[in-house]
Amino acid sequence: MGFLNYTFDWSVLWRHPYGGMFVKGIFTTIHLSLLAWIIAVILGIMIAVFRVLPPRSIRLAGSAYVQLFRNIPFLVQLFFWYFAVPLLLPKPAQEWLYDHVPDYSYWAGVTALGTYTASRLAEQFRSGLLAIPLGQYRAAYSTGLTTFQTYRYVIVPYAFRIIIPPFTTEFLSCFKNSSLTMTISVMEITHTAYYIDSFTWHGLETTTAASMMYLCISGFIVLVMSFVEKKLRIPGMIVRSQ
């Protein structure tokens, strides 16, 4: 198969050891994004709740977090976690870290991606919280629930159902942003494609393969999330997109 004097050689994708490297890259991308996502969801919900709670100092703290992490480009934050954060530790602690956490770049990537995504997710959760009618709060309080219980059992689950569509989009962003961790030497899908291209000079095949991998995984995520959306839809609310 040829195109503009370029001969495609797809065998590069399963040639030893490149095939194995790609498989490893896919797994790295998946567990890195999943771990980051878990951090992002927990942190995001906490910060969103902070942003709507009455005490001013708590609201300010939540707001400060969002402004700090949402307004700095992700790539810059990545470098910060990988290069700058360890410098805050004393020298022996740094040496211990590098010797005993050989995949430090991976963990820096997880932390950077998790904290960055949390700042964006927090705003989406907040919009979900603000969309809840005041009557829901009143009803919860009138049954004798405390503020914590009101949020835990009524408001957060309700808000979560509202924000599922942007929630899916945010997860896809988190998944795609994981490709930037290649700049701090994490061997995920994009870095693997770049590496194999350096050896084989078949960049078009490796890039196309990487795109397909992202597309397949994203497609699967969208399928799962639309299933979740159907399952969790608020009773009585018409889902017009179906």
Binding site: L4, F83, L87, Q94, Y98, P102, T183, I184, Y194, Y195
Partner: protein, 302 residues
Amino acid sequence: MDRRTNRIGKGRFSSALGAVCIFVSLAMAVPSYGENILDKIEETSKVTMGFREGSVPFGFMTEKGEWTGFGMDLGYEIVNELSIKFGKKIELVKKPINPKTRIPMVANGTVDIGIGSTTITLAREETVDFSLPYFLTGTRLLVPKGSSIREFPDLAGKRVGMGSGSTANIKGIDRAIESGLIKPACKKVLFEEHNKGFLALQQGKIHAYFTDASQLAGMQAKARMPQDWEIVGSYLTYEPYGIILPENQGEWRDFVNATLVGIIKNGRFAAIYDKWFGPNGEVPLPMSAEYKTLLKALSYPD
């Protein structure tokens, strides 16, 4: 409703088709090298050269933001020779190239010639041509001064940084591991760019950085305290650098080679080397005995 949906569907299809057409026509617009480059240079009085922007001292930006370097000086020599050959001033059009773009940009005709720190390899020869080798270096190690790493076997079990695009270097270290020279194997930490690798080395994330000695000397020269670093180890692989040229342009390649041989013989090359790699140059790097022999061998008789 159905008809409306249909119309929207068709509209989207047309837009997609339009986008594909634009993409294909753009791709087809890439110039092919049917014509002789020397004729084209004579006709247009212009030569387009690709130079590196971040490879000290081959091509880089000064603190004042000026683009300069060893490769660029070689480019000026070629432009001078072109002006003499055609009896008129030939304008130099500079374009930035990097390790990922240098080969495609020459192959698809965006630049007529690419000058930088590019190792001649047989795999690359399948896509582009190379001039005679004008620079000879080899892979060594950059370590903090006083490090216990002196030679390649000392890398056993250590973390070694290298560029993920530097194929020859990665293959070199892989061979050293396979042959049992480095036992137990060292851990390869791949960096997209050398400067990030050097930052990681400065922070102790890796124990050594492995690449061409000329690049290591550039990294050391740019360090805040160059005396805190040293280049150790004998050459693990040899890296002959060549100028990248398009394929099937024999006359153009001959012209570039003749210019190189000419400046090696008349001493201009030595002066340019001294300017960049001499004791007072940007990257002090004495010429190795092998490199001197190479240059002597390249001084072809008239």
